[in-house]
């Protein structure tokens, strides 16, 4: 009745990919995370609950695209916020280009899931914000902003107010706004999570194009397995309570990526592995609901 595809091992890499991972490994390390811990601070203090992050370590190489994935409550957003300097860590080290991270800074751009464009600034002025804060003149900032708006294809909307844009456009402006600072790394916290499926896949394509054309490293948090496989070089899989790394997967799908690959054997193999890691066999989850039949006999939905 059911046919199961024979999938390759998710660790099988094509020669090109092996070569790619080898060159990536030779690049300089941009971000180094060593034994990062974050304790749960609840109303009754830290002690009782397991830590949000219990010792997370990994390295990010220059111009790598890394996705962080995990079930809800695994601390992936917290991890990203600590890297961005928005939340203090309870232990461990975060080194950005060899320097300890203490607070937010323009070298780590962030794009959030919620829309964070400044409503009182036009699209162009939003993108100018970073350069203006670092003391660039108005004209230089404006030229800079227009260039980045061009890159995300929103030149025509330069003088619109943020509330006049669609969700996808808002996130494109947010990406342009971050990139206008020339950050070494772009930290993205489920940036497409609030978008509908079609806009979302369009945004994924955009992001890959931008990443290809700009010297930037991306750390991308998501809970969407397909999104992670489509975008990432490596996927860091986090487990919950305490948040820890279950596995770092080298995505076995060739570049350049496109949506059509989502049915390729290597894609499916990677996805299957991710599913195993994130949703390990859960006897509770597979049980049927204790329902009484409330339809007429013979009136079957799944005949």
């Amino acid at each position: 009745m059911e046919e199961t595809l024979r999938l390759p091992d998710y660790r099988d890499l094509s020669p090109e990919l092996s070569e790619r991972f080898r060159t990536i490994a030779e690049r300089e390390t941009i971000l180094e995370i060593r034994d990062l811990r974050k304790d749960f601070v609840g109303p009754k203090g830290a002690a009782a609950m397991p830590p949000v992050l219990g010792g997370v370590s990994f390295e990010v190489k220059r111009r790598e695209f890394i996705c962080i994935i995990g079930a809800s409550g695994c601390g992936k957003s917290t991890l990203l916020r600590i890297l961005g300097g928005l939340e203090p860590r309870s232990g461990g080290e975060v080194l950005m280009n060899g320097k300890v991270v203490a607070g937010p800074g323009a070298d780590r751009g962030m794009v959030f899931q919620e829309y964070t464009l400044f409503p009182w600034l036009t699209v162009k002025q939003n993108v100018m914000f970073g350069p203006r804060m670092s003391g660039r003149g108005r004209d230089a900032s404006e030229a800079e902003a227009l260039q980045w708006l061009d890159m995300v294809g929103l030149t025509e909307r330069a003088n619109a107010w943020p509330h006049q844009l669609s969700g996808g456009m808002k996130q494109r402006v947010a990406i342009a706004r971050s990139l206008a600072n020339y950050p070494a790394i772009l930290l993205m916290d489920e940036p497409f999570g609030a978008l509908d499926a079609q806009t979302r896949s369009q945004m994924q394509r955009h992001l890959l194009q931008i990443w290809k054309n700009v010297d930037v490293t991306v750390l991308f948090v998501t809970h969407d397995l397909d999104e992670a496989i489509l975008l990432a070089d490596r996927i860091v899989v986090l487990g919950a309570r305490p948040g820890r790394i279950l596995e770092v997967i080298k995505v076995p799908v060739d570049r350049p990526r496109h949506a059509g690959q989502s049915l390729s054997p290597h894609f499916l193999a990677a996805k299957k592995r991710l599913e195993q890691l994130i949703h390990p066999d859960d006897p509770e989850g597979d049980k049927d609901l204790p329902l009484i039949r409330m339809t007429r006999v013979g009136d079957d939905a799944e005949a």
């Binding site: 400044f118 669609s166 999570g193």
Partner: protein, 347 residues
Amino acid sequence: MRAEPPRESIPTPPGPGPREGGRRREKPPTYPGSAFQVRKPLGRRANAWLALGAFLLPLLAWCAVSYLPFVWHPMVTVSDPGSVDYFQKGMQVERHEFREENRKAVAEGRPQASGTRENPVYLPAPHLVAKALVTAFRTPPQRAGDPWLHESLGHSIRIIVLGFLLSAVFGVPLGLICGSFALASRLSEPFVDFIRYMPAPVFGALCVAILGIDDAPKVAIIFIGTFFQMVLVVANTTRGLPPALLEAAQTLGAKRRQLVMNVVLPGVLPLIYRDMRILLGWAWTYLIVAELIGASSGISFFIYQQAKYRNYDNVYAAIILIGLIGLLTDLALKGLGRKFFPWEKEA
């Protein structure tokens, strides 16, 4: 992690769609009882009619009470005292008293008094108040030294503007600082909260003792009445700024000073402006107290004087004038607000 419902990719404007070019406009479908849908907006025309109705209904009620004798009219104005010895021509007596006296007169075979039913003198008819509104500015004051109505009004407005500007100049920055920095908030807000609960009028005597009897204590009362509220309201509004905006600004390299000047300030300014519009209404409330301390003055003094002379039509005219000034100021400020803050979505 954060589950949010998927949003539409293109925001749809609230209310009816853009008007079509020609004369024909699609009428939106109506459902039975659609005027009373929970939290559903009405059309633009309906809103305008209802706003008109909001004023017409009370006016109609007033007209009914004034011009339809059977609705209320509890008094009788005596036109002929007849045989009732204490009745005088033009005197108002209560209806049951009038009837009682006439009943006695009939019983004793004396001539009855006659008169017309009227409302009490403190409720003049709309047309009298309307006339007073028109003539008030042209009528010289009863006593030579008293101010004209426009002088009284001008004086009141001067006091309000002075007092309110003074509290805004200090209150808004302090509120912004309290809303931005926990240290400032913890240090000042408990005390401000403590004073806020003292009714401003209780400071009246003190203000006169310290500042003399002229305008200074009146301005001070307005200041006391609005300043402390303002600090708390502005601080709360400031704290309502979405933290995500601050975080985004920080990751874009904004430092502390830049955060306050380039994010907090522009982010909350439209909301503070709205708060100011509400607080300006409070200032009028305190005005009435302020004008009765020290040397009485202004519109409230005018109202008290007119009430003393039993010119109730003038009293109503003055009260309506205050309402009109308030309404027009607010409409003007609302319009200006749209100019100042073009990014604000239509509420």
